[in-house]
Amino acid sequence: MGLANTAPTGPVIALAGNPNVGKSTIFNNLTGLKQHTGNWPGKTVGIAKGHCRIGARDYTIVDLPGTYSLMPHSAEEEVARDFICSQEPDMVVVVCDASRLERSLILSLQTMELCKSVIICINLMDEAARKGIHINMSLLSSRLGAPVIGVSGRNKKSLGALTSLIASAPPPHRPMRFKGSDDTHRAVATVHKAEEICRGAVVCTKGEYSTFDRRMDRILTSRSAGYPIMLLLLAFIFWLTIIGANYPSQLLTALFDKGQELLSRLFDNLGAPPWIKGVLLDGVYRVLTWVVAVMLPPMAIFFPLFTLLEDAGYLPRIAYNLDRPFKRCCACGKQALCMAMGFGCNAVGITGSRIIDSPRERALAVITNSFVPCNGRFPTLILVISMFFAGSSASPLSALLLTLAITLSVAMTFAATKLLSMTLLKGEPSSFALELPPYRRPQIGKVIIRSIFDRTFFVLGRAVSVAAPAGLIIWLMANVNIGGLSLLSHCAGFLEPFARLMGLDGVILMAFILGFPANETVIPIIIMAYTAEGSLLELGADSLRQLLISNGWTWSTAVSMIIFTLFHWPCSTSLITAYKETHSRKWTIVVALLPTLVGILLCMLFTFAVKLFT
């Protein structure tokens, strides 16, 4: 943590603020998107750093996680406090929400107690203006004794005033100290001071909470419609993902098939030995292009759609709706947020568990996160569902079945949470306070472009670093013979008896093991293994289905495949993240073992049931 590893250039400016005040938007606009806030836009986990040039000077901008207080309750808040106290930034810009100024000022006053140089930046002025809130900046500034500036962070131009204020390096403010016998009394004094400062300086002509938000909440969190809308939205997103991915997927497949033909001819003309052609074309090229053509499009579509939901402010409502069920499992509704982040990437969901205050509930969120399928597992699910159950991928039935699979994974998340609460992580549910931010129109264009690029590069990077070597290894395994049988057949044969019990076969189980670094590679490895001995060249959806069926797949194999895709060990990145978050080998092992055991057990039960009834 901190800036020790990279030398800061110029003065260090820290951005602090309550959650949901648009801090990261300001950060991104100041640093010009040159930094990376992590996989999940809209959520700062840990500290993000970036650079910004104002006039002739370079500044290092540090984005701290959103906090309500500098008296930390959660791991995230501790990060912010530690930075302000130990790294001593040259200046702290406290980003405030114009519509919730009193509360924002509580944090501002606490920051002013700790730091000499503070700028109060009141963001979301446009939103406040729409709500009929008027703010007297100069009155606030003289009462606070620190510079105050109003901006609308989404609008880059409006940040000009902030940057010139930073550049002018305003003199230190009056030292501030709240009297009180203990922390609580001092905190009460801070709240009263914030109230006093705002009196008369902030005028609200309309209601504080907009009628639009009230109306939306009444629908989205209503007793009758709350849960159905949640499911419908999920199904709708899946449907868009499946439909939208279809076309680019076909296009890319066709393109890569052409590429393979050309390359094959090239190798022949050069007189390359067959094994080189085999390794590079049938091994590396095939698996790599598979990941790009089939896995990338759904990932690149699902991710931005989900980000839009987060941007619009819907995800906290999911946590709100699901708090009661989670409480039944002695956990916290915020776990629903981590779960939702897990749909994007389990590693991000695991890091995101920092928003949960209680260490016990945090551990629950970390351990159960991989029970929901991440972005890298969706394409596998979609593929299997559309090939074996829905007839074609374009049918709405695929989306429906996928939603069903996700519902199963959410149900298992609850079951696993409950199980852990009763065994390894006993305890009572702790207190809970969750802010429901106002609904905001998401910056659709920006989000889509940014996260599509983000995803594309992320997946391409993984394809090169993971899928290509996997292709190489699997080709070698299929073509190196020991005692008349290929290495692949040896391994698959070894796993076969166990895999059969689960309704899978040795090849599938091995593909899951080899797919440990990246779940996207599981299906390509299976295909590779099935086609290694024979040679099947073009791979449309139909021929793929034929290939699987000729290798003994039935509808029950497909169901087992779906179950095991949902529940098995998390990918290497998620496990490393879990270790970093828990600092414990023991818990990391639980993170890996629990979903694996659940998956094996469910598959075996299912297979047993099928045998019983057929």
Partner: protein
């Protein structure tokens, strides 16, 4: 003088003034950070589909609290 109620007892749409904060420990501090002190005005915005938690308007922000936490706050309806 209005009668005293617990915050979890006020119905959606009702506004109330905080008379006494009885929450202690981390929850007490969390509520303070959100700006909830004696004399603050809160409004019940609505309940989640299962009837709990409930969303309250506290200093312009919608905050969801569970009933066991909000029951430690004494209020007078206004």
């Amino acid at each position: 003088m209005n009668k005293q109620l617990r915050l979890n007892d006020i119905p959606p749409g009702q506004k109330a003034k905080v008379i006494s904060m009885q929450a202690t420990g981390p929850m007490g501090r969390r509520l303070l950070d959100l700006g909830l002190v004696d004399g603050s005005v809160v409004e019940c915005l609505g309940r989640s589909p299962c009837g709990d938690p409930t969303a309250f308007l506290i200093r312009g922000a919608a905050i969801a609290l569970r009933s066991e936490d909000s029951s430690s706050i004494l209020v007078a309806p206004i």
